[in-house]
């Protein structure tokens, strides 16, 4: 997990990750303050909040449910993965933005880190 020195707009994150927008729920207005990267649902449950982006390789419905529980604003799937239509619908019902980047998790995080991030935050 890392906090951003300055909150950045989701549209800028989309550019940095060359991501496709799967679901746009007014995402241009969203400012992202924190980025989490995890494939473990329990980890996400203990970190997430309403101004955060989750980078994950999991595209099952539980990813959306987990994001919903902690009010995560946006999810970016790596390796160009796109979830099933039902899962996208679940995100729509919860107003969660979905992005998909072709980068691997390592590269996506690396690019974001180089572009905008400053201080890392210790895990709770």
């Amino acid at each position: 997990m890392a906090s951003l020195e300055q909150p950045i707009l989701l549209k800028d994150i989309q550019k940095i990750l060359s991501a496709d927008v799967i679901l746009d729920e007014g995402w241009r207005r969203e400012k992202i303050r924190r980025v989490y990267c995890s494939d473990l649902m329990s980890d996400i449950l203990s970190f997430g909040d309403s101004s955060s982006l989750l980078i994950t390789g999991l595209i099952n419905p539980q990813t959306i449910r987990t994001a919903e529980m902690v009010d995560i604003a946006a999810i970016c799937f790596v390796h160009g993965k796109i979830p099933h239509e039902d899962t996208i619908e679940m995100a729509r019902n919860n107003e969660i933005v979905l992005l998909s980047t072709r980068y691997s998790m390592y590269e996506a995080c690396g690019r974001l880190y180089c572009a905008k991030m400053s201080k890392s935050v210790d895990l709770p």
């Binding site: 473990l40 649902m41 329990s42 449950l45 203990s46 099952n60 419905p61 919903e68 529980m69």
Partner: protein
Amino acid sequence: MRRLTEIHKVQELVFKLKTPDAKASEVVILSPNTMMSEVRSILKRNKIAAAPIVADKKVLGIISVNDYINWLIAGKEDCCVEKCMSLNVKFLYDDEPLTDAIKSFERYGFYEFPIINRKTGNFTGIITRRDVIMGLLRALEIDYHEIEISSYSGRTFFHDMAADHTELMLKFSVEGKNIQHGGDIASKLKKNLHYLGLHPDTIRKTVIATYEAEMNLIIYGGGGTVEVLMDADVIHIEVKDEGPGIPDIQKVLQPGYSTAPDWVRELGFGAGMGFTNMQNCSDTLDIISKVGKGTTVKIRISLDPEKSIK
């Protein structure tokens, strides 16, 4: 957007209200033969600045404080009000919207207007500036009351109930192995708690703890029940299954300890953080389990964030 509709509603209300909707409930009228010497005490007693002179339901004129002062200055003998009243009376009609009345107050600068029926010309009442304001406030109050009823949020549910103690019980049942629906209950619970207007921190803790427990029911417990009992101070979550039970409770409380099968791990669960998360979100966590019989998890979360341990 919501604000805009509310403004429109107020505007609409002003147009919808007719002059008689706001007219004074108590009307002071004088007869033509009321004596000028009586005027002062009548106006003072009724806290008004003017009164119409009415005979046979028709307004003959109006006598104001100004007319009374003029009479005093002139030093004339006591006489009937008929002889000193203003004859050039401005009326409002009883079918005019309140907006017209407001405009007339602005245009003429008077403090009150007699209201007459347009057809018969008969006197039907009086309207003052105060009446306009009070009429609008009354109408708004009724309107807001209606809005309040239609948009009741449940925010004050526990305090609204007339009882010595109010409890709310939400019961859910969970199917085993049906991972596709994992989190449905926590999701429903979250919406319910929002409806009840609980503090976001409390909602967050409650849904995270419930979600973890719900996933345990699905993955390990073979299904079961989730009961959420709350009152104004505390939420009790009780999650019960008749599954295989937990042989060593101390072990499952260790972060990272997991017995999850591969299919669970592939979905991002089973990292051994479930009970740790439940513990972090609750004031107290109790696990009662018997191998071969089942497991009951009891979670207690305080409703007031100030009272909460975490």
